[in-house]
Amino acid sequence: MRQPLRPRLARALVAGGLILSTIVPGGSVTAAEGDLILKTGTDQDLQVLNPWNSVVVADFEVYTLNYDLLVNFGPDLEPVPGFAESWTTSTDGKFWTFKIRPDMKWSDGQPATAEDVRWTYQLVLDAVAKSDASADGYYLGQGYLEPYLTNAGVTKVEAINPTTVTVTTEFANTLLLQAYVPILPKHIWSKYTMDEIANATGATAFLNEPSVVGTGPFQAVEWKPGEFIRFAKNPNYWGTQGAVDEIIMQKFASTDTMVQALKTGEIDYARGVLADQFNALKSEPNVATVEGVANGYSELSFNTGGNKKGYGGSTSALADVAFRDALGYAIDKQKLVDSTLGGYGTAGSTIIPPFHTRWHVEPAKARTFDIEEAKRRLDAAGYKLDASNKRLDKDGKVINLRLTWPDSESENATNAQFLVEWFGQLGVTVTAAVTEEGKLIDDVTGPPNGPANYDIYMWGWVGDPDPNSLLNFFRSEEIGGASDSYYNSPKYDELFLKQRAESDEATRKGILAEMQNLVYDEAPYHILYYDAELHAYRTDKFGGWTNQPSVGGTPLFGYGSRGYTLLTDASAQPSPAPSADASAATGSAGTGASAGASQAASATPSPTPASSSNSSLPLILGVLALVIIVVVGLVIMRGRNRRVEEE
């Protein structure tokens, strides 16, 4: 029934007062006073902390912060000390000696020695041996890391003494210095069996959850899967650490939100910005944009097996170099860059991207975009036009090429439209349709393991600091495995083995040049373009952003933790910007600093950001006011009603 009014009103007021009283002396909620936290954003999922399960760039970035490679990558991707302090090789190049720092410690204080290297590498070798021995194969996690040792031909690892480890390889090569294998702490990892490390789905799988122990400059201390990973400084780091105290790597579901967060200073670095956002950010104060050249490309691949037995191509034309070559004149690669990539990219040429400044060469006999030339070449190669202007192959069949691409690479739909149009002008009909990624992988697997069921398709490859991995899948022995063009050239296979074992740079460059031209001319692939990596970062909180490699690289998400350790405190520098809040009241703590700095630099007179308690005040007051209004209203209503009845 009705309750007396005064107690109700009183209760509302008391509640309001309580709320108010707790807000005001709330104070700052930032982390330890004075900490410089670097916040990076990416649209990739942060899914794994066990390096063996790494798939995406973010995963690799995470483990190069936690751990050292045996040999790290320098400013231009040259080998620099990592876990190992120095190294020498024997004259035949097949025996390496690595020296480990005598007083190096793991982040938990345990001594880091040669034994850790031996244990880690031996784990890989054991897994490879097990894989070779079994019919099913065996992989550590995703199996991405073993090839770094197998491609280098590693056969034996030994720890002579705590500061010396030796590695024996089957053949001479420099790939050992580029092995992207993190050195793991034996005293943590050896507690688990190989299966527990390798098999992520077992009940006792070792996930390597925080706090992670490593020798890298930062260790993961907090992990919210799918949200963020937080890193703290390694107190025992052997190298220079820079100004950063903590790193938070944040995942974003939407790049729009990520860009907004960059603008407000809630993150300091954004990876994977889209072309139009990138353009808009160029004029944003205190934000720098960097267009990194990608170490990879997008290609148009041909089923070079054509319609031979065991291959699912629709026409014999696909197996003909002349046909593929002619089609290459009907692709306007710059147009694709402009349309699909918004101008951010480079027209494609050879299979070693320009990113590899030391190894990339332009093709000797480069094609141009010339429809008439393409037609001439098709005619000359014997592909006649029939009555309805369609090309016939040498078996007299109308050529109708099926073009596809995986649904995960949706920008290829734009490329497809162009290809259909251009090839159509030549009289070659192209039917374009997207395929679900899993099914596509099934389809393009070559014989005897797969049906090789496609004509032409588009996808992309990402490379390593060494171009070797990008050369691998043109080997004939990869047919049925990684090869999706089924290219079969004894000359190529021979050159591959030669370059792999060649340690003289000039000589190797010559071999690679020959390989690039060979593949360009024979065209199992037409490289469409080299994508660009679009990153952006704030300049008002951290300075010292250095691209790795210096030409065409990006400060972070490169190869290793260098970019992080080079960062300096922007407000500590004698910068021209009037950053009066450098020392002071709000401190440089967390988000307070970024907002404070952007306050000084940008013109917006913004209050402190909402992570502090103060800006919740208007919200609470608003609600309180509403409650009071409602209560007062009810009081008045009751009074009026009473008066009516008493007439």
Binding site: M1, R640, R642, V644, E645, E646, E647
Partner: protein
Amino acid sequence: MTTARSMSAARSAATVPVDSRGRTLPRQADPGQPLLVVENLRTYFSLDGDTVRAVDGVSFTLNQGEALGIAGESGCGKTTTALSLVRLLPSNAKIVEGAIRYFGIDLVQKSDTAIRRYRWREISIVFQGAMNALNPVHRLRDQIAEPLRERLNLKAGAARTKAGELLELVGIPKKRGGAYPHELSGGMRQRAMIAMALACDPAIVIGDEPTTALDVMVQAQILELLERLRRDLGLSLVLITHDLSVIAETCDRILVMYAGRVAEEGLVGEVFRAPRHPYTQKLLAAFPNIQADRRTLDVISGSPPDLRHPPPGCRFAPRCPFAMEVCTEVVPPEVTFDGVRVACHLYPPGSDGVPVTVPPAPIEAGPR
């Protein structure tokens, strides 16, 4: 039954007006005045830009303990007249002229908020076909208790008890009070409505076609109930119906309306015995007489006028068998003969008031 005192500061008994039954009246009431006097009431609707003159100059008086029946065809304005009493009109209707004096208090002058005081506590209504007049999601006893709690400020327990008493009063067993409307028959729902209407002990109960939707047997029961209540409680009734037999049974006086105006008004016995107005005669003749010979019904040709553009003069003139030229020009004045008031040019002021009878229709042969 006594009403609960309102919760304001106590007033001395001497200054509180009471009516003949001892009921407390509103402060401004004058017990010496008649219960209800309606003077020249005009209620107009605005519809698509036109003005519908639904009630166009209606006057009558109701005394304490009386039962008045208002009769007429559909659309003659009888319901609108009744609703105007407590201003239950839709938003496009307005009382444009006239006075409604309840014990001398002019209800027309009261504001929309002030009129609430008079609803249910002084004048209550029983609607027709209580299919949806009762709220389907509330139990019976809760709906009856509602005015007791809201208008009389009774506490929950007292209200529940009183609600039970009211149900018993109208012949519904107390234990059925927990039922929902859809679980009751039509007759029981109507009884419940009556119980609800009596909750605040009103002076006047208006029945708007209270038995129209019921079958004849139930109809009889309801009428009997109404009569009993009127006797026992001393209520005044206003019964609106097109069914003259109901009025003949239950009412003391009858008011015949046509097209928004009063045609004839007087004691039931007088009017039924010797109807003067041609419309009243036709109305009475239109009812089949079960004891007379079988013949076709004597219908009134034509239909009521469009009240947006009513004919000048007498509104019945177009259908009246006695229509004269003056009827289409001048509005007939009201004249009283032997207690019967009639507005018809057949009975001008100063005439002897002898009824002029409409000849009956010829008997037509037909199968027996």
